[in-house]
Amino acid sequence: MSEREVLELLRENARYSTADIARMTDLEEPEVDAVIEELESAGVVRGYRAVVDWDKLEDEKVRAEVELNVELDRETGYGDIAERLARFPQVKALRLVSGDYDFDMEVEGDSIREVSMFVSEKVAPVPEITQTVTHYVMTSYKEHGIELGDGDEDDRLSFSP
């Protein structure tokens, strides 16, 4: 149960200190460290990343959502294709999805040209891939559950009964 609680806190803010997590869960600090170590070594927690609002930065990254359709044969399954694509560092996320297309792939690069070249030269030629549709991200409003707007100001009175 404490594993679940710690995981939830890390998902909320991976930079909470061990001491703060201990205070919020009524665990001892060494217990929190042990739980986190277990989550990491079991491969439940795979990494920690910042949630970035690229619009706030000068050197914006170019991101695209790419729809992929594939045709499977006797020797090749979804897993084989995915494994091949996921190895490219430009691919930030890759998911098999239900619906009109098979894979949903997130690609990141420094320019539109770079991303386009990647899709046309590295992805499209994969023999099982029959179609790619590339959607460039224009503006992001919410990432990983965090709204990227200016947020609501706390306009409560400083004292209320």
Binding site: A22, R23, M24, F159, S160, P161
Partner: protein, 385 residues
């Protein structure tokens, strides 16, 4: 020439909190733990329903007692959550905040000169409400050694056996105390024995962090003498929408409705649409907020103990009630920590008898602000010890 004010209004002193407002205004970068309302906004689905109702032109009065569909939803909700059974046609009234409902009850049930016992420390409106209604408030102080639960000995010490009515608010503002079924049983017996009407303000019922909330109205022989108050302000983060309700026997609710129909007419219509949506689809939002409060609660309690301030294990609402270190009054501590460190907390005396020597600290504030506020409080305490 001074205006001719009514005596019963002049009797009520101005709120003790006013002075602190002014100090807080003068200072920048105040982190306020003095707030008695959620830091969350109303769940979006409820706000969206309110907006839609406005777009559809739903801006007329509703039935005096509130929309029928809302009363039915309330009846189902209190049955599911708190095991309370009330008829939506005759035993439920929707009001402009639970505050209005409490005021209606004082005016509907208290005759001039009747005594109303109030478990304290508690929300600041009960005493003035009793006085405005012509009654005589009787403070029943609760104590830290009882974890601020109301006990029969506290009632006896205060002379509450002679009272006509008893007001209690659990989970409690300002202490964060809760009362379990076992804690409530002797109080219920006392009320039956001395024939007291009971007003149970259960506005913080959802914010119970250990065990399940028990309403005193569910105990044997209590339904017929109890009015239960609840609303959407705290659990559904809807304070500004002003929507609450009262549950009680048909004749009692009819009497409250008589005043309500001549004064308020009906509770805000837009808010009623928001509330209906809140009950039908915002359960998971409420659970998420309750989880957040619970984490902050544990964080704040841990920090006070690390700082070396005594604090009892508050298990409800979104307050804790630490003891002021020796050598300072609550008022001095609250003023000092506000002026020197820019942290706003409320001295416990404001909430009546039993609150002296304590501070109400609200954790309805984000964790990063709580962390900073506790660091500042620690600095303030360290300078004095």
């Amino acid at each position: 020439m001074t205006f001719d004010l009514a005596d019963r209004v002049q009797t009520v002193p101005p709120s003790g909190i006013r002075r602190f407002f002014e100090i807080a205004e003068e200072r920048d970068e105040v982190i306020s733990l003095g707030v008695g309302e959620p830091d969350f906004s109303t769940p979006w689905a409820a706000r969206d329903a309110a907006i839609t109702s406005l777009e559809q032109g739903k801006t007329s009065y509703t039935a005096n007692r509130g929309r029928k569909d809302l009363r039915v939803a309330i009846a189902n909700y209190v049955t599911d959550r708190f095991n309370l059974g009330y008829d939506p046609d005759e035993e439920i009234i929707v009001t402009a905040g639970a505050s209005e409902a409490v005021d209606l009850a004082f005016r509907a049930f208290v005759d001039p000169g009747e005594t109303v016992a109030i478990a304290q420390p508690s929300y600041i409106s009960y005493e003035p409400g009793v006085i405005f209604a012509g009654g005589e408030p009787l403070a029943v102080p609760t104590r830290e050694e009882d974890e601020f639960r109301l006990t029969v000995s506290a009632l006896e010490r205060a002379g509450a056996s002679e009272a006509d009515m008893l007001v209690l608010c659990y989970p409690n503002n300002p202490t964060g105390a809760i009362m379990t079924e076992a804690d409530l049983e002797p109080v219920a017996e006392f009320a039956r024995e001395h024939d007291l009407t009971v007003l149970a303000d259960e506005i913080y019922a959802e914010l119970t962090y250990e065990g399940e909330h028990t309403s005193i109205a569910t105990l044997p022989g209590m339904r017929e003498r109890t009015i239960v108050f609840n609303g959407f302000s705290k659990a559904h983060a809807m304070t500004g929408l002003r929507l609450g309700y009262a549950l009680g026997p048909a004749d009692a609710i009819a009497a409250m409705n008589k005043i309500h129909q001549y004064t308020m007419l009906s509770a805000p219509t837009t808010a009623q649409y928001a509330a209906l949506e809140a009950l039908s689809s915002c359960g998971s939002d409420v659970r998420e907020m309750v989880d957040q409060y619970d984490r902050r609660r544990r964080f704040v309690l841990s920090r006070f103990r690390e700082i070396g301030m005594d604090v009892f294990e508050a298990k409800g609402a979104f307050y804790c009630f630490p003891e002021v270190p020796a050598g300072l009054t609550a008022e001095e501590f609250a003023e000092g920590v506000l002026r020197e460190q820019g942290v706003a907390v409320v001295p416990g005396d404001v909430f009546g008898a039993g609150g002296e020597g304590h501070l109400r600290v609200s954790y309805a504030t984000g964790l990063s602000d709580l962390r900073e506020a506790l660091t500042r409080i620690e600095a303030f305490v360290d300078e004095r010890t």
